[in-house]
């Protein structure tokens, strides 16, 4: 049984665009809205170099990562061949124009994955 939690209205996501959902712990979840008004949710992290998928270009049923243009499919989070990799998919449903995510998944899924580091902080942690 999923614990559906309301996130936002479909209309609050730009058509062929995305929004980020902040979580208490872990990386944000990216919500994508396709031309047919379907909404999909992926961890906001490309399996390649960790780019924020929510910032990519949405087309068809996939998004192109803004960093190196890998294409990630919404249905299964898989990178389109010949690239290989997979990003976690979050259960997502739309009812009466409202987007829902599963509270348990939000709280527990993919907490181990971190964003890539850049800048001076890399030396501090190295």
């Amino acid at each position: 049984m999923k614990r559906w939690t309301p996130i936002c209205g479909v209309a609050e996501i730009p058509l062929l665009g995305a929004r980020r959902v902040q979580r208490e712990r872990g990386l944000p979840v990216a919500l994508f809205r396709t031309a047919e008004d379907h909404v999909h949710a992926l961890l906001d992290r490309c399996p390649h170099r960790g780019g924020p998928l929510s910032q990519g270009i949405v087309f068809g049923t996939a998004v192109a990562c803004p960093l190196h243009n890998w294409t990630i499919e919404f249905a299964d989070g898989q990178a389109r061949a010949p690239d290989q990799g997979c990003t976690p998919v979050f259960a997502c449903k739309v009812e009466a124009g409202q987007v829902f995510l599963d509270a348990d998944e939000l709280a527990t899924l993919a907490l181990d994955l971190a964003a890539p580091l850049a800048g001076p902080c890399r030396h501090a942690t190295a």
Binding site: R20, Q22, V58, F100, L101
Partner: protein, 829 residues
């Protein structure tokens, strides 16, 4: 509806590639049955020569193992020859009596070797050189016999002769024409080739006419007899006097054949629309191609029609040739024999074994023959395909790509001389060894395939020439590149120019209308075509076309540069690179307030704040109170200046003011790619104007304007456009050139590549010689830029979607709704 049946006759490279393309776009559309006369799965016929020469094994050249057919659900009848096609009942019959019905039939029967009609041609020991069985027969013969005669001194014959010699036979090549490989080489190169092969131990009988093949006591062939009565001993005779399209079946069932099964641009036979033909058996516009790349292009087009996409036309290919004999380098393409109206540039060093001939007509390269030194073959072939004017590079054309600076990283340009561990693609860290391995193991044939699978040449593209060389040497000789007009992306077959023309001609104003009008294959394009189409719309119809932020890359959507960790960098505009205490104070305060980790002085004379959180961007812009620097956009970036006559003791002109005026006139100008300017106050050129898109250099008597320089991937020195007297003229000339570039440049094409493509003469005609046209262009640009918003402040008019800066927070834990699953749960995992 019942699944349709597709039957393919012939199990070779062209046919199977067609099936692969078909399965990609329309899996499951057909029940597929394949008949192949050879008892093997599809293998790389091009590599039979290396197998014969003992450099590769048969296993290594298999392209599609039997398991592939099983995985794809294809019924393969290997070793069964189709003997009849019944077009009325729509079925094919094989030599073992088995039948298969079809809804669509694909003929890929390849070609027959041409067997000379001389007595003795049926003797044991007389074979052709066409398939694995022939190759095997030659390998066997080499272990038991001594004398071999190859009839035909063309590509195939010489490869056979070389292979047999490498296996220890004494080989004589009989060639009726006046020089070897007369279809691919001119007489000089043909003779050089002959000498080199003679040095290796081959014997040649040039101009000899074969009269009969004579049998020995054991019934096997023993000698070849010529018209003049002479004989040479022969335990093995290889007929390699050419190939003929295999049209036996097609003719028997009444399909129109003329030097091949005649097909139209969709690879449909003109007689029966249910029947398609691809590969060596097909005659397209009178030509039956024998090289692999054209056949693959045919396969691709044919697959889209079989797949009921109904798109794509095959319009013919240009081809080039290379001989696969290790240690011998020769290359030819186009009209290498010259002819009326052509000029030749020749380099001949017979002692050094080097010969090159370039054939030009109307200032374009139309043919090339090279012997001994062929590293630039792929480059010449590219020039030839593109039909590029060569006046500007003519004086060093002969010396190759490396001499015009168009080589890979580190100046590497001779792919062959590189070690396997050497890096070819510096962007993605791909070595020569990795590329060659991928080409061999995955059976790659085109640049695009290599890019997809290895990422080599997929980023900055400066190693493209190297990768093409590797393809040519690794994939085998029949390298031939993609068509000269490249499609914009996989969503269409149209090129950049065609899309742009359609937008202008039909007054298209939205991305959607472009896709509908031009029958895009995808509903809303892809990350490659959407930004391009959006740019063409807003540049063609300023103030009319609707800008689509979702069709822009993230940097232009968030008006900042995304960094590797997902944070952003912010570069405010500093007119002409000048700033003030006030601005610097505000910048310092912003850095403190938003805890920005890095501040960097850029090459464009501005300050870059790196590591800004996306949420902070609007507040950072507000607090800075400076205009957007557009450092994130395909647009005017900076105008770099020196201090000029205001301060400098050498300065002749007020370059700083000129730079500020240019920047104020041109900022907010979107372009096909980023645009950088510089203004120097004297020819010492401290602002480095010589490597900018537009460089302006002050001299005592006025200003010199240079264009199309580049300091990036490949340093390119800007070319002289004009010398003018006044600052107003500088604005008009620079603006007019940039407007021309905005209208004619292809998306992501820098000015240097744009000017290369259209030629400096074209630009001069439009900007220097045509005063009215120049003024019109300059006015057009001013009209387009007038009133354009600053995206950092005028969010509404710049269509900046502020929602992107605010993450959504899920409702508090208590608000969890226990909504039951419903039919709307389409996206449910």
């Amino acid at each position: 509806m019942k699944t349709m049946k597709l039957v393919m006759v012939g199990n070779g490279m062209a046919g199977v590639r067609t099936l692969e393309e078909l399965l990609k776009i329309a899996p499951g559309l057909y029940d597929i049955t394949v008949f192949g006369a050879e008892p093997h799965p599809n293998y790389n016929r091009i590599l039979l020569s290396p197998v014969l020469a003992g450099e590769q094994t048969l296993d290594e050249i298999v392209l599609n193992p039997l398991s592939w057919y099983a995985e794809q659900g294809i019924t393969l009848h290997a070793g069964r020859k189709v003997v009849q096609i019944d077009r009325v009942k729509r079925l094919v019959r094989a030599d073992d009596g088995s039948e298969a019905a079809y809804d669509r039939l694909l003929l890929a029967t390849g070609s027959h070797p041409f067997i000379l009609p001389v007595p003795g041609r049926d003797l044991p020991g007389v074979i052709a050189y066409r398939d694995i069985a022939d190759t095997q027969a030659m390998i066997d013969a080499a272990t038991r016999y001594r004398h071999a005669v190859v009839i035909g001194g063309g590509l195939l014959g010489l490869e056979a002769a070389n292979g047999l010699m490498r296996r220890g036979m004494q080989v004589t090549v009989v060639h009726i024409q006046p020089w070897l490989m007369e279809r691919q080489l001119d007489d000089v190169a043909g003779r050089l080739l002959q000498k080199s092969l003679e040095d290796r131990g081959l014997k040649f009988l040039i101009g000899a006419q074969t009269q009969a093949l004579l049998a020995g006591a054991n019934g096997r062939v023993a000698a070849v007899q010529f018209k003049d009565g002479t004989e040479v001993p022969a335990d093995l005779v290889v007929m390699a006097a050419g190939i003929r399209p295999n049209t036996d079946l097609a003719e028997a069932c009444g399909l129109h054949c003329a030097r091949g099964v005649v097909v139209n641009d969709t690879l449909q036979t003109i007689t029966d629309p249910r029947i398609y033909a691809v590969g060596e058996c097909a005659a397209h516009r009178g030509i039956a191609y024998g090289l692999v790349a054209p056949l693959f292009e045919q396969g691709k087009v044919c697959a889209t029609h079989l797949g009921q996409f109904g798109i794509g036309r095959y319009t013919g290919s240009q081809t080039s040739t290379k001989l696969k004999v290790t240690g011998i380098d020769l290359f030819s393409a186009g009209q290498f024999m010259g002819g009326a109206g052509t000029e030749e540039i020749v380099l001949s060093d017979p002692a050094g074994g080097v010969y090159k001939k370039l054939v030009l007509r109307d200032d374009k390269l139309v043919g090339a023959v090279m012997y001994g030194d062929t590293v630039d073959g792929s480059w010449y072939f590219k020039l030839l395909r593109e039909g590029r004017k060569v006046a500007d590079i003519r004086d060093h054309l002969m010396f190759g790509e490396s001499n015009i600076g168009d080589a890979g990283h580190l100046g590497q340009n001779k792919a062959l001389a590189m070690a396997d561990s050497d890096e070819v693609c510096g962007c993605n860290g791909v070595t020569k060894g990795a590329i060659c391995k991928a080409i061999k193991e995955r059976g790659l044939f085109t640049l695009d395939e290599v890019r997809k699978h290895t990422k080599a040449s997929a980023s900055c593209g400066s190693c493209t020439g190297l990768v093409e060389q590797l393809l040519m040497f690794t994939a085998g000789g029949d390298y031939s590149a993609s068509p000269k007009r490249k499609a914009l992306c996989g969503c269409t077959e149209l090129g950049h120019q065609a899309v742009r023309d359609a937008i202008r001609e039909h007054h298209l104003l939205t991305v959607d209308s472009v896709y509908r009008w031009l029958d895009w294959r995808t509903p809303n394009g892809c990350a490659t075509c959407r930004p391009a189409v959006n740019y063409y719309l807003i540049s063609t119809w300023p103030k009319e076309a609707q800008d689509d932020p979702q069709s822009r890359f993230i940097n232009e959507r968030s008006h900042a540069n995304i960094q590797k960790d997902g944070s952003y960098s912010v570069i405010p505009r500093m007119w002409g690179g000048e700033t003030s205490a006030e601005e610097l104070r505000r910048i310092a305060d912003v850095v403190d307030k938003y805890q920005i980790p890095t501040v960097k002085v850029t090459g464009g004379q501005r300050l870059d704040m790196l590591g800004v959180k996306k949420e902070d961007l609007p507040a950072v812009w507000h607090d800075l109170g400076m205009p957007s620097g557009h450092a994130y956009a395909k647009a005017l970036r900076t105008v770099k200046t020196c201090v000029g006559s205001e301060w400098c003791r050498f300065g002749t002109q007020d370059s700083t003011q000129m730079g500020k005026d240019l920047e104020r006139a041109l900022w907010r100008m979107y372009a096909p790619h980023k645009v950088k300017l510089a203004v120097s106050g004297c020819p010492r050129n401290c602002a480095e104007a010589g490597i900018k898109d537009v460089g302006v250099i002050g001299v005592d008597s006025g200003w010199e304007i240079v264009i199309a320089g580049n300091g990036g991937i490949k340093t390119e020195v800007a070319q002289f456009l004009a010398k003018v007297k006044t600052a107003d003229e500088v604005l008009e000339y620079s603006g007019a050139f940039l407007q021309l570039y905005r209208l004619e440049g292809w998306y992501l094409e820098r000015t240097v590549h744009y000017v290369h493509r259209v030629g400096l003469d074209h630009v001069k005609r439009r900007i220097v010689e045509d005063a009215a046209g120049r003024q019109a262009l300059w006015e057009q640009l001013q009209f387009a830029l007038d009133g354009e918003p600053d995206p950092w402040f005028d969010f509404e008019r710049a269509q900046v979607d502020l929602r992107q800066f605010q993450p959504v927070a899920p409702a508090a834990a208590g608000a969890v709704a226990a909504a039951p699953a419903s039919a709307h749960d389409k996206a449910l995992a």
